[in-house]
Symmetry: C2
Subunit: 216 residues, 2 copies
Amino acid sequence: MTGPSEEPAWKQRAVERSIRTAKLRAEQRVQRFLDAAQAIITEKGSTDFTVQEVVDRSKQSLRSFYLQFDGKHELLLALFEDALGRSADQIRAAAAGEDDPMDQLRVAVELLFESSRPDPVAQRPLFTDFAPQLLLTHPAEVKVAHASMLALFTELMEKVAASGRLRSDFNARRAAAMTMQTVMFIAQSSGDADATARPITADEVWTFCSHGFATK
Amino acid sequence: MTGPSEEPAWKQRAVERSIRTAKLRAEQRVQRFLDAAQAIITEKGSTDFTVQEVVDRSKQSLRSFYLQFDGKHELLLALFEDALGRSADQIRAAAAGEDDPMDQLRVAVELLFESSRPDPVAQRPLFTDFAPQLLLTHPAEVKVAHASMLALFTELMEKVAASGRLRSDFNARRAAAMTMQTVMFIAQSSGDADATARPITADEVWTFCSHGFATK
DNA sequence: GCAACATGAGAATATCATTCTCTATACGAG
DNA sequence: CTCGTATAGAGAATGATATTCTCATGTTGC
């Protein structure tokens, strides 16, 4: 028996239903924005689009946009997180093709390196492009976006540890974090080197991360 | 004997003198802008200032600003390069206090790490702060700005190589570049970690760079 | 069909960087 | 000392965007 001070069950249910469909539509709208942004990015090969473009392309309104997102940065974050997550899945799948944990990690490093360099002919979203901006303005959220990739690297690193080949003074997660960051950032800046020096390769980065620069 | 078609010597000299003083004043004005910007940055502990603020603070005019700089980015670059150069000098001096090349490099890594983390109480300019922006818009110039620091690390790495402790499959310069980038970027993002995980330390980065994560 | 709520169109605002115009001034030449 | 020219200052105008706001128009559950 519901006392008079509580909402009647039917009303709760009604609200519930209402909420559900509303949420559904909202999700669809968010997705439309995301798709539009993605399309624009791959189309013009650059990550600097205007909110207006996204709105027009998705055939929605500015108002809607700002109802769904707290601002442009949230859209970027969403794209970034998405791309990174997708990439993590691909990499995980590819790594699974190897037997030795160390090889799995090597494959992961190489693939991450490739997908992190600026504009490998604009196929996979150049997600490192907007990361720098965001790193400045919303570092915490960027960390969240990195989460899926970090999870992958941590998994792989843990297997390496389990096979007894991780330095005893490193914890898998921390080693994974350092490796991931190193790979992503070196890839990023190795891109547009002047032709004078050939850019750093995935191989070099792998050697560096796994064995460092010092002998012994 | 100057023919009639050539400028008389006195005129050349006059122009020369004129140019010299003009250049001098110009340099002073540039410096005033730089100082003003620096002051604002340390004052508000953030690198996002407006051109107008810099102009007001330096008691000059917008017009002057754009006569001296091609745009805001040049000001940032100048500050960045300056800060990095200064830092390189300090680090070089500190490293000189060690005998073993490997120790010199270790000291350099530790210091670079410290000065690259976001806001260590905003004393030395947080120069990694605006690097990300610039990396996006003017990657080539950023590379130039890195030059002095890279030169330092290359020197140190060469001494390590000379003492026979650099992996034979690395060239000093490339190892130096990877190390520097790793240190700077890891420091940058190790900053505002959620209290959940304690941030990565200079020590860990040094171990990582010098020996990698793998045993043997 | 109605009331409450959601959405679209797009005008209004706000913030900056960058340019432009007009005026004042300093400096060397005579 | 006085003039002319190059230089500098004040600050308004412009332009690009993000963000917010208003109003009109659906939509949905009942």
